[in-house]
Point group: C2
Chain length 282, copies 2
């Protein structure tokens, strides 16, 4: 599994990725999923990849080969064109490998997050699907995720705003989102690669790799958990309805309000709602 | 979809459920998923259900029929036995309906969270699987979830401790966990039913239903988002490695440390890592 995310704000981009790859439960490796391509002053691109490592390696190798010849990402004049170049390479590798994979019931499942800037234009963020088509992040939806996306999403929803969130804060949100995901899913793991890009810098200057026991990461995690607990304690007390005749536990005066429990809430049947079964714990 | 959770601490239980049911994307209804059975002073049970509404209604109906006759949940002498009674009813309904459902490729997917207390024993929390077997929450894993569980999990992992978290705080965590999930998945929706149970009360006294625009819920959500943003801003600044020769953006003195980027991180290929494809946005 993998978890990568990109954030775009008016101040620039933050990109972050985990480094764990696994083939089943018993073959765990470390692999960098963040790849940069840059021509300082002209164009900069950072790619985060998820899916079969064999396939994403092929895509990066082919992109790099063209880039080194001054082709492909080295000559695009917009981020949209860069996203299309990557989509074309995804399709090229799919053409080579997909049929063989599917013979053994393996899916071609590559996804790429692309952040970057071309001189004279705004920084942009894209997701390129396994089919090669690109989706762009917007001011209303200023972040994109690939891989194990759910655990790390609420903190982004609560905090990231295109026009307000500083790059420094966006980097903290990205780190917290990754840290939350690593805690809940062991197939997402350190080191964490983090990159921050200031609008119009046109070169990558701020990168950092956090290992599992990185003292800064440990400090941020501890401070964050303390801050969350304090924030919960400072929230208004939840006022419950006290059942008539119930022996009420001791509470500060004025803390309770009488709330009617709507016991007759409409119980309209919805037929045949299908849901995933939870996996049984061993 | 559904999201329900139960929390057990040394102070008692908190149970919470959403109320949205859907059959596809175009048939959305409201339905209470929290059901209580109590004999004040003797035994109290609260059940939260997920899965096909038709099947969970059958299970609750049959449990209620027995309870009203002084059988089933009305005569159990332990929480474990109560979990087994519920598992037996799940199996009974599976025996009636499962074959017919599977003919149309529908899964029998009922899950139940059971919290409660039998006089003379500790409060306990169980999940009963669609196959009828029960899993108990422990001091190390003091909460259980069913349905859309991922969005709402990190806040619980960060905050809930069996021996430290007060019932008041546990109720806030439950509400925040549900609120985060509703924000990220539209098939989880209000009203939210919330129940708090003090150890040895042996009756249900504290219940509350929050509609979408409940002023207390809106206030808690706003204060929470403010507190999160403040907490992020108060975290230590992330120290990036500045690339050699890069033009460094203006920053406070002493904020940066030199970090070596480990560009030669081992890139061991893991073969054929299979991952779920993200759904393409329409």
């Amino acid at each position: 599994m993998t978890y990568c995310l990109g954030i775009v704000t008016k101040y620039g981009l933050v990109m972050a990725s985990d480094s764990r790859t696994n083939a089943g439960y018993d073959q765990i490796n470390v692999c960098r999923k963040m790849h940069t391509f840059q021509q300082p002053g002209q164009r900069v691109f950072v790619l985060l990849t998820s899916g079969s490592l064999s396939c994403t390696q092929s895509i990066i190798t082919l992109l790099q080969r063209d880039f080194d010849k001054g082709k492909g990402l080295a000559e695009v004049t917009s981020m949209y064109d860069a996203a299309r170049i990557i989509g074309d390479q995804i399709r090229a590798v799919a053409d080579k490998d997909r049929a063989a994979l599917e013979k053994d019931n393996l899916h071609f499942n590559v996804c790429v997050l692309l952040g970057g800037q071309v001189r004279g234009q705004e920084p942009q963020l894209f997701m390129i699907y396994p089919q090669g088509n690109p989706l762009q992040a917007t001011e209303e939806s200023p972040y994109l995720q690939i891989g194990e996306t759910k655990y790390g999403r609420p903190i982004l929803d609560r905090g990231i705003r295109f026009d307000r969130t500083s790059l420094e804060d966006a980097a903290k949100y990205a780190l917290l989102s990754l840290d939350s995901t690593m805690r809940s899913n062991v197939t997402v793991g350190p080191p964490i690669d983090l990159l921050a890009y200031n609008v119009d810098a046109l070169q990558f200057t701020h990168q950092r790799r956090f290992t599992a026991d990185d003292p800064d990461l440990v400090k941020i995690r501890m401070r964050w958990e303390q801050a969350l607990r304090q924030a919960v304690q400072r929230l208004p007390t939840i006022r419950f309805r006290i059942a008539p005749g119930a022996s009420e536990p001791a509470r500060p005066e004025g803390e309770e309000s009488i709330e009617l429990v709507d016991a007759s809430a409409s119980e309209t049947p919805a037929e045949q709602v299908v849901q995933k079964q939870p996996k049984q714990s061993a």
